[in-house]
């Protein structure tokens, strides 16, 4: 709707999904969690099961927009809109979620890594509709953290970071995933940071070095709120705090 208000979008037809049933379900099973396209931020926030089944998602959603926006904004809308500073696309990418789309050629599952192409541009075809987002099951002992900085509570983030990993019996990180948003033209995974630290213990010096390695290759966004240097420093700080918190937070 803001796109219409600004005359940035002038669609010939606009389809309201309000009366399409079945898209507002949150399904939690052994395979993971499926969020219907019409699930609202409010629904995620109020579903106490998700705090256990997908704690990183639950934490991220708390940072999205204001009360009145959270009453309306949806999973499908956020994924399709693909704002580079939005939380859900970042979670989808970091958690390797799949986006389920249907169109005249049937249903397909698009990995998040292939879904977000550029600011407000996705792999969705014009005649396709998102019906759900699928997240794989979350091991109970998994460590995680979500950090962002915005100028005002509920505003879009200047930068944000999501981190999760499992610890093996030797205290080494496994399945490390590191995501960032608000910093580039789409959400990104810091694959070099992940590669440098996977199988390692989360020692502060190694973590700091790996963060630098991961952010050095990023082409940082620059705008009136934050220039590229500031964003880089901010992201590094948020990532450092995220690793710290992930280590300190005892698994539920």
């Amino acid at each position: 709707m803001p796109m219409l208000a600004f005359r940035l979008a002038t669609p010939r037809v606009l389809v309201d999904l309000r009366r399409v049933s079945g898209l507002d379900r949150i399904h939690i099973g052994e395979q993971g969690v499926e969020l219907g396209a019409k699930v609202r931020w409010r629904d995620i926030e109020r579903d106490t099961r998700l705090a256990v089944a997908q704690p990183l998602l639950a934490e991220a959603v708390r940072h999205i927009a204001h009360y009145q926006i959270r009453n309306r904004g949806t999973v499908g809308g956020s994924l399709a809109h693909a704002d580079p500073a939005a939380e859900l696309p970042a979670i989808a990418l970091t958690c390797e979620a799949h986006i389920v789309a249907v169109g005249p050629r049937g249903e397909r599952e698009i990995p998040a890594a292939e879904f977000f192409l550029a600011p407000l541009v996705t792999a969705l075809e014009p005649d396709e509709l998102i019906v759900a987002m699928r997240l794989s099951a979350w091991p109970k002992a998994r460590r995680f953290s979500f950090k962002e900085l915005s100028r005002r509570l509920g505003d879009f983030a200047l930068a944000g970071a999501a981190v999760f990993f499992d610890l093996d019996e030797r205290g080494c990180m496994r399945a490390l995933h590191v995501g960032a948003f608000g910093v580039a033209d789409k959400p990104v995974r810091l694959l070099e940071t992940e590669a440098a630290l996977n199988g390692m213990r989360p020692e502060p010096a190694a973590v700091a070095e790996a963060i630098k390695l991961g952010t050095s290759g990023l082409e940082m966004r620059s705008d009136i709120h934050a220039d590229a240097d500031y964003r880089r420093a901010l992201l590094e700080t948020l990532l450092t705090r995220a690793f710290d918190e992930a280590m300190q937070r005892s698994p539920s």
Partner: protein, 160 residues
């Protein structure tokens, strides 16, 4: 043009609206319910907040056609028989408004919040209030007024 019949402040009203027009503009220009204010028109300021089927939402981000059949409460619907509601009365006593531009959006937001969460603490109230910009009163008297009005909502809930 599409014919819609929302229930506005308890009364079913049928209006013809162009598909492209927002709920905010329909309330103000068509139905003359000018208590709903419009400023930013892209969801940031909160001045246009109304309650749709129990939820506080931005009426500038909703098309009027999407409100067909919905129960809508605007700021005009808060007082009963010319008497201010407990929340409005608390705003008056705490001087929680000056120019009043933001006030209708804050009243509708806080009304919806307290109906659902009459025990909302100061932190929660401030968090929710972050979706409404007030550029002249300052938020402290607003928070005080809302905190005080909670008792009336808790009472209404236990009495119901």
């Amino acid at each position: 043009m599409t014919s819609i019949t929302p229930i506005i402040n308890g009364v079913a009203v049928t209006v013809e609206v162009p598909d492209r027009v927002t709920l905010a503009d329909t309330l103000r220009d068509k139905l003359r319910l000018t208590g709903t204010h419009v400023a930013c028109e892209h969801g940031v300021c909160g001045a246009c907040t109304v309650i749709v089927d129990g939820l506080a939402v931005r009426s500038c981000l909703m098309l009027a056609v999407q409100a067909d059949g919905a129960a809508i409460t605007t700021v005009e619907g808060l007082s009963k028989n010319g008497k201010l509601s407990a929340l409005q009365d608390a705003f008056r006593r705490h001087h929680a408004l000056q120019c009043g531009f933001c006030t209708s959006g804050i009243l509708t937001t806080m009304h919806a919040l307290l109906l659902e969460e009459p025990d909302a603490g100061e932190h929660r109230i401030r968090e929710v209030l972050s979706g409404n910009l007030c550029r002249c009163t300052g938020y402290i008297p607003i928070v005080e007024a809302v905190l005080e009005a909670r008792a009336a909502y808790a009472q209404a809930e236990s009495g119901a």
